[in-house]
Symmetry: C2
Subunit: 457 residues, 2 copies
């Protein structure tokens, strides 16, 4: 391997774009536990899921044996507008850190949605269109998923109805406006449009909403509207499947230059980015072909891996969605106002949870002030303004590179840079003005929410 | 030429990054008129300029005979973090328009400053650093230039002092915050920090500032501070020189696939992007090697090419900068509140002005509501949310492609997509809400400002 030949940015050609998504579950001996019907505690059937989800997406969700799913040509053509995304060699960062480590990051922010969310949004919109649906509903908190889905729906001419957590709707008018630019209707949640929304508003007139409530409204709207289904941007295994394009491209780019990573790092909220990035590497590990350290980074304010328990829980606060076995803090845990909105989720994808349970994946939690310190440091050196979510991975990558400096080890570190922070400047401003806080839940709090978990045998 | 082989995005490799900027003036028989001292009306000498500008940049500014300037390695290394930028084949747009035209755009928005401004900012910061300066001062209106310069200064460890037009400072807090993230100090202008600022505030206590005033403050600060110089993001010929990297890459990418454009389109404010994009093509035209239609697109609210006159005028409203011979509306012309802040400039780069005067370049003006219609249309089809400035070029490119549909001509259209609109959502919101207006100055107004032009023999 000749390091001098590695460019600052490795761009694969369009011909090297993956032709199939990789389904990590196919290589797992111990599969992730199935989704359960919340009433009967029996595994959810396709029929039960079909009132809410699109048919082909249900098939992908339930399939834990097929290793590859071909990416339809229509989706590949859309991917070509912004993929393959660059794998960047962080030469400037390495030099500044004076570390022998080699640092790479897969940058998913070079598209208008500003994040990796578009990889799954376009797939979900495609299958909805193929099924002959009129449109889809969803919720959005920070707004990246809502933006991505709006773009995807505009491309396929689908109606897109987004329930946006009311406080985000009010605090992030620009996010809302981007979604409108792509033709989506954006409703602050809770709203008077749904039964659950009206009920919540009656009980809590001044509420600023929550992701759980927005999910409930979107699910209700999809179930009751003819020709609509509900789509979700993380947590589900179908999302990890689509996001595997990140890891497949990363691996192809590294292979091209004969580079084998030692450590792979990703931020983890619901798990969509991390699960996508590590998929082909974890596949090799599961098949005994290679070994890698893989690290999930979560906010200390919402530590589902590091302080949650592995149990069946509801995916939503409204407790209307199926039960999933996962690392969870309890579905009524409301994370503090961390600015990494995309990481404020009480649970974790079931595949990643099972892998963590088996000890194949590490996890660590970090505080948001130190995360923003690393974000700003990185922005000044590498020229990219990172999203707060992505900055969790940056922070741990920098720490690992510093350790290499101490030990003299030339480790190769790869991390996922999931998106840009253009719509997060309020958070950066708080950081600059010294007004950022680091709330960490107490053991007593966590024990309380844990006690609310559903009892599943 | 086989169209099917052309990818959605043509990425040159790092090895194909231009090694020298192209100085268009070297190929002009009739050179652009020199800058004049506003007091003596004699050509400005290097010595006179050196109190305000960096030495090597002055040399570039005054040199109209050297065709190529080598790009220093340090600048090339920075370029590698975001260049070569993609030349995109707009397959989706072509299909939607059902046009036989082939449409390409050079996308300069894939960097954190969000625009092409970074190409010159890093060069100017480099020469300032090389001269041993402590820092630079500048003004910013819309904020793209200020952001780019902040990034460049952070990279070279230079102090960066930005005077931001007060109304922008208040209306675009996120832009301000990005600059702070890169360590710049951002002062709302007019301020109490400078004599000219204090004078203006005394005379107009409630003023929300203007670009002209911000320039005057930045120039004063640079002249009075030890180890500081003033830098500017457009209008000057040194900026066009640096921006030639856009055109050189575009031409290299097209040549690679044997594509010869028929029409080249760019938005024009001060001329930095347009001059950079068309440089090598205009060079061929000047040398009689090829012919192209080249179109400058300006806002109808600030029509310096289409309704201005070719005369010596001040580059700034404060009338302290040198006189430049250019198409101008008069240096005290205050454009209406068009949302394309980067195109609100009373004059035009002197090289482009001379080329337009010689009939080598066309110009057209468009109204902002139709520009936003095209911007939204483009965003939904091509997936990129364009800046209002860039959308001027998009609008005319779409119109040209529609003409091809009528005539059946398979013309190849190339336009410059200078940047993204993430910080322009207030403008998009006005457009969505039907609150956007189309102010066009009357002939009487223009005649009035024209009568204020300095008298130069």
């Amino acid at each position: 391997m000749n390091n001098e030949k590695i460019p600052y940015k490795i761009y694969l050609s369009e011909n090297e774009l993956p032709t199939a998504w990789y389904n990590l579950r196919a290589d797992m001996k111990q599969k992730p536990a199935p989704l359960l019907n919340p009433a009967t505690h029996q595994p959810m059937s396709s029929e039960e899921l079909s009132a809410v989800f699109c048919d082909e997406l249900i098939a992908q969700e339930l399939d834990d044996t097929t290793p590859y799913f071909e990416i339809p040509e229509e989706i590949r053509n859309f991917y070509k507008m912004y993929r393959p995304s660059p794998l960047v060699r962080a030469y400037c960062l390495e030099e500044k850190l004076d570390t022998p480590a080699k640092i790479y990051y897969k940058f998913e922010g070079n598209n208008t949605s500003g994040s990796h969310k578009l990889n799954s949004a376009i797939a979900q919109a495609y299958y909805a269109k193929k099924q002959g649906l009129k449109g889809v509903t969803t919720e959005t908190g920070a707004g990246q998923w809502g933006t991505a889905l709006s773009m995807a729906c505009a491309y396929f001419g689908l109606d897109c109805k987004v329930y946006m957590v009311k406080c985000s709707y009010e605090q992030k008018p620009f996010r809302r406006e981007v979604m409108r630019t792509y033709g989506a209707s954006v409703t602050p949640s809770p709203s008077m449009e749904t039964e659950v929304g009206r009920k919540i508003l009656a009980e809590h007139p001044g509420t600023s909403g929550s992701l759980g409530c927005a999910i409930s409204e979107a699910v209700e709207k999809a179930s009751e509207s003819d020709g609509y289904r509900y789509v979700l941007g993380s947590v589900l295994n179908q999302v990890l499947l689509h996001q595997s394009v990140i890891g497949l491209e990363t691996k192809a780019a590294l292979d091209k230059y004969g580079v084998k990573p030692d450590i792979i790092i990703g931020c983890a909220g619901g798990g969509s980015n991390l699960g996508g990035l590590l998929a082909p590497f974890m596949g090799e590990k599961l098949r005994g072909e290679a070994d890698y350290r893989m690290i999930a980074v979560e906010p200390a304010s919402c530590p589902s891996f590091t302080r949650g328990i592995y149990a069946y829980d509801f995916c939503d606060t409204g407790m209307i969605c199926p039960l999933s076995k996962m690392y969870t803090l309890g579905s009524d845990f409301i994370p503090s106002a961390n600015h990494a909105g995309g990481l404020r989720y009480h649970g974790m994808n079931s595949t990643l949870s099972e892998l963590y349970h088996q000890g194949l994946l590490e996890a660590t939690s970090v505080k948001q002030t130190e995360v923003f310190e690393s974000a700003e440091y990185f922005a000044r050196i590498e020229g990219i303004l990172p999203a707060p979510e992505s900055s969790h991975a940056i922070h741990v990558a920098i720490n690992e590179a510093k350790k290499c400096k101490e030990t003299g080890e030339e480790k190769t570190i790869v991390f996922g840079l999931t998106g840009t922070g253009y719509f997060d400047m309020v958070a950066y401003e708080k950081f600059h003005d010294g007004k950022m806080t680091d709330y960490v839940p107490t053991d007593e709090e966590l024990a309380l929410y844990r006690s609310h978990l559903p009892k599943v045998d």
